[in-house]
Symmetry: C2
Subunit: 218 residues, 2 copies
């Protein structure tokens, strides 16, 4: 299962990358023997390097978080916002990392909640910049709005995963690019409509919700 391009990586890195891919494709129930076979090593070596299956998953999580951190740092220091968005849209550069994150969001675990928090913080920042630039409306609850929008993205990914398993769409863990284009095909128009025109015609609903919240916990 080892490819020619893997030969320059240490066995440890090769195992970690193989696990990333396996877990993304088959979920975290995938066996150590399958990961070992993908990496071209013996099952015992996996445990020699990572201690246990949990250790392997923790190493995968750590590696993904580090990749995200590096990307974030780069986009903060060297890029304009436009370049950042372009990089985000180019999923090919992330390789199995994207699929692994999607699988984690579906399965839970520490990476999932940390990733969500990261996304919420980044979204809040982007929205604040948009408000300052005048392209985004200000909010009575910027943090809540960011969290709500992140939940929407999680839902779109989850529905893509469900559709993929039913054979109706490309899988975001197997072919992120195809899945993303398929998703944008149907979701962009509803999204733009929802974000540029009010869904509900009664403008007093927000005030009513705020009132009710105040009445419950003053």
């Amino acid at each position: 299962m080892r490819s020619a391009t893997d030969d320059d990586l240490t066995a440890r890195a090769r195992i970690r990358d193989a696990a990333l891919l396996r877990f993304a494709r088959d979920g975290f129930g995938a066996g150590l023997r399958a990961v070992a076979a993908d990496a071209g090593v013996s099952p015992a070596l996996v445990l020699h390097h990572f201690g246990s299956k949990d250790g392997l998953r923790a190493a995968c999580d750590a590696h993904v978080l580090e990749r995200i951190r590096l990307q974030k740092e780069a986009s903060l220091t060297t890029e304009t916002p436009g370049e950042s968005m372009a990089h985000l849209a180019d999923l090919t550069q992330y390789g199995p990392v994207f699929g692994y994150v999607v699988r984690s969001l579906a399965s839970g675990g520490e990476l999932a909640s940390r990733f969500v928090d990261d996304m919420v913080a980044a979204t809040e920042q982007y929205l604040a910049a948009g408000v300052a630039a005048g392209t985004v409306s200000p909010s009575v609850d910027p943090a809540g709005r960011a969290r709500y929008l992140v939940a929407h993205s999680v839902g779109l990914l989850q529905m893509a995963l469900i559709d993929a398993e039913a054979g109706r769409a490309p899988s975001p863990t197997l072919d992120p690019v195809a899945a993303f284009t398929a998703l944008s095909r149907w979701a962009v128009v509803p999204a733009m409509e929802l974000y540029t025109a009010p869904l509900l015609t009664e403008p007093g609903l927000l005030a009513a919700a705020l009132d009710q919240l105040d009445r419950e916990e003053p």
Copy 2:
């Protein structure tokens, strides 16, 4: 593990209900022996009634779909829309069914995609009624909009599940009522804001998206 109220059920129904609960709480990796113990029967009896573990899950799926079908039928024939919403909001009556659906949405499978399709159809119908009543704005793509909104709900559930596993919120599969109130505490205000006022200030974005879609596939 059998409770007094279970005694009047046939063993088959008791096993199915126990499986519903186990799968909802622990996921579909839960063992047959655990289900059998919960139902107060031997593991062999589970297979006697359902043939295999897959058969048991299929029976759970079928039972849940039947419950949903009955609920839908009742709400179509006997209830006003207001009563329907009130019933939907009262999660206690669904018991383990709600948690099982949430778990299915996270894990995929046939029930998940069928449930999503059901929700999309129902949402489209509700939105159409809202448009007719004047409370909801008309859409250029009613089906897409319904699907998009359902994806949002799936995302909220999935984030509740992630937060629950991180110990930050009640679990929607363990205590649906608590999870739902915790969710509404932070999500209602952003939702109302998002649905009553445009998030983006540039009104031409929808037309741009429609143009781009036309240009790609005429």
